[in-house]
């Protein structure tokens, strides 16, 4: 019969997350799967509660987009006891729990940072470059990983240096505020060569700050960020942003396929289904991508 799948989603803290939710719904509808989404409002305890109630409702499978990498062992054990397969979406969990889930459909956020760093290194070439970094929320694993990947990538190039790094909480408003102070602290922004933001939203805010300070983002100051939300393509089309690394919102599609195959034929999927971290630049016809992404619920 029809599959019922419970999806414990983190929340809707960003446009990207909203898009992931709506794409998941679309993908489920396409496959006639009954997808129950429980929104955890950014709280792990809510996610655990949600998983417990999925178990109590005896769903066919559970999708989990974990808010944090640790702390899932006991609840996933319960799911295993109840013989409900679990698929991780978007983020991985701590290695100790590998046998507790069927597969993980995720991107590698360290790799995302690396892609961004490599692009910057390549674009800058040999000239000295002072980078300012807009970090994600302090303590968020994505933020830590994207920082780590980026740092690894630029460590190979002594001419690249991160001169300032502050958290912009993944939001536009904070991204703008932090960028404003970066500009003041770096002599009106003249000494800044590039901005790296852990997500596009912060970059959109930072671009506004740069414009208001009379700087020319995309030209005088290079920008590279992660997520590939529609608005960054708009900025790219206007020549105000240079590059973004895509984090696809379609995690549910591959996950649904894997579950269907597992339920029908017992095919055990690979432990990690990695999504692509594709780099987009102005060369990729940003306007077209913007139009195509606009409707996805970002």
């Amino acid at each position: 019969g029809q599959l019922t799948i419970g999806f414990s989603q983190i929340g809707s803290e960003s446009g990207w997350r909203a898009a992931e939710t709506s794409v998941s719904k679309q993908e489920a509808a396409k496959r006639q799967v009954n997808l129950k989404i429980a929104d955890a409002q950014q709280k792990q305890e809510n996610q655990i509660k949600a998983i417990r109630s999925f178990i109590a409702q005896n769903v066919d499978a559970i999708f989990l987009a974990p808010v944090v990498s640790t702390g899932w062992d006991s609840v996933l054990k319960e799911a295993k006891e109840a013989k409900i397969p679990v698929v991780l979406l978007d983020r991985d969990i701590d290695p100790s729990g590998k046998e507790l889930y069927l597969t993980a459909v995720t991107s590698d956020s360290v790799h995302e940072g690396e892609v961004a760093g490599d692009w910057l290194a390549k674009t800058v070439g040999a000239k000295a470059c002072n980078i300012v970094e807009l970090q994600g929320t302090v303590g968020a694993s994505v933020a830590a990983n994207r920082k780590k990947g980026f740092d690894t990538a630029i460590a190979k190039h002594s001419n690249l240096k991160v001169v300032r790094s502050q958290t912009g909480d993944f939001t536009r408003a904070k991204g703008k505020e932090v960028m404003e102070s970066f500009i003041k602290a770096e002599g009106g922004g003249k000494s800044i060569c590039a901005v790296y933001a852990h997500n596009d939203d912060m970059m959109v805010g930072a671009i506004q700050a740069m414009k208001e300070a009379g700087l020319k983002p995309g030209k005088e100051i290079l920008t590279v960020s992660i997520d590939a939300v529609p608005d960054i393509f708009k900025a790219m089309a206007a020549g105000e942003a240079n590059a973004t690394v895509e984090l696809t919102p379609n995690m549910a599609g591959p996950a649904l396929d894997a579950i269907a195959a597992f339920k029908d034929k017992g095919t055990v999927p690979p432990k990690w289904i990695q999504t692509e971290s594709k780099l987009y630049t102005a060369a990729d016809d940003p306007q077209k991508i913007y139009d195509s992404k606009k409707g996805l619920g970002y």
Partner: protein
């Protein structure tokens, strides 16, 4: 006694709500869901017990969520990185958190500052300190963790009464006894009734203030340990915003924010009401992020309005019978 009528009303509200939910989702009326309710809200029940003391004494403690977060990180690092035996780590963190609470209480009393703000600073401090310890989440692999989290009393009907639920129930009962049966408890009510009067009647107001905040932070520390059992990890961002859930639970439980009135049992019922709202929304499973928030708000309103209506109803017959008598 004085705490009873509001408690009774909260209990009625909880039972009514539970019945309504069960009508819509029969699965809710199972020992499994009830067991989950206790387990999932164990840490909340523990902090809320401490918060009840604070609020009855006329104060408020916004730092509890951060103390939980700090505790999980500290415990995880102590056990996993620093190689401290778990029990030693627990004792250390409890001493630390109790000291933290005592310090906040002392600042509140000595400098005559509003608890709201002092504990807000405490909230920043504890969260900031946990960032300094580690911004990553640290899994805990010590065997005691799997022992504790696997331990559960089987309830008839497939439910599980887990170790942390048992800890919570014990603390709630202990807290209720402490509040109602001891001199300390009476002094807590006295402080909330009127600080100045309590002082004039010879209550050592300063020492009481220190102890009350110490108790709250100590229980937040225990809640942190329970939280670390719950998730087998330490994470600096855990339990963000829990202070508001806690205050809401205490207030729904019939405790007045102005102090002087309330009960631990009421708070426990308030915690269960909040858990029930969450369970209901999870069972529904069709709500988007925003409808989840709206539904939570509407249900919160419904429960509180129901409670107020019951209170008003409970008052009316008294007036009538008195009128008839005269």
């Amino acid at each position: 006694m004085k705490g009873l009528p509001p408690v009774l009303i909260t209990a009625i509200v909880l039972v009514l709500g539970f019945a309504l939910c069960a009508v819509q989702f029969p699965n809710i009326a199972s020992t499994r869901v009830v067991g989950n309710l206790l387990t999932d809200n164990a840490f909340l029940g523990i902090v809320a017990t401490g918060m009840t003391f604070v609020i009855i004494s006329g104060g408020i403690d916004l730092s509890v969520g951060s103390v939980i977060g700090f505790t999980t990180v500290f415990v995880a690092l102590a056990i996993e990185r620093w190689g401290v035996p778990p029990l030693v780590a627990f004792v250390a963190i409890l001493v630390l958190s109790a000291g933290f609470g005592a310090a906040m209480g002392a600042v509140i009393h000595v400098f005559d500052l509003p608890p709201f703000i002092v504990t807000l600073a405490g909230m920043f401090l504890a969260r900031g300190a946990s960032f300094l310890l580690s911004t990553e989440s640290v899994p805990i692999t010590a065997p005691i963790y799997s022992t504790v989290s696997d331990f559960a009393l089987r309830l008839p009907g497939g439910g599980r009464l887990t170790a942390i639920a048992i800890i919570m129930l014990a603390i709630v009962i202990g807290g209720a006894l402490l509040l109602t049966l001891t001199r300390f408890g009476a002094n807590v009510y006295a402080l909330g009734g009127n600080r100045v009067a309590a002082n004039l009647m010879g209550v050592a107001v300063g020492r009481m203030t220190v102890r009350i905040y110490m108790l709250s932070s100590l229980l937040a520390g225990i809640a942190g340990i329970v939280f670390s059992f719950y998730t087998s990890a330490g994470y600096s961002l855990s339990a963000v915003g829990v202070e508001l859930d806690t205050i809401a639970a205490v207030v729904i439980g019939g405790t007045l924010l102005t102090g002087g009135q309330g009960s631990v049992i009421g708070t426990f019922l308030g915690v269960l009401i909040q858990g029930l709202i969450q369970t209901y929304i999870n069972f529904d499973g069709t709500l988007s992020s925003w409808w989840t928030k709206i539904a939570t708000g509407v249900l919160l309103f419904a429960f509180i309005a129901l409670q107020q209506a019951l209170v008003a109803l409970a008052r009316r017959p008294v007036a009538k019978s008195a009128g008839a008598a005269s």
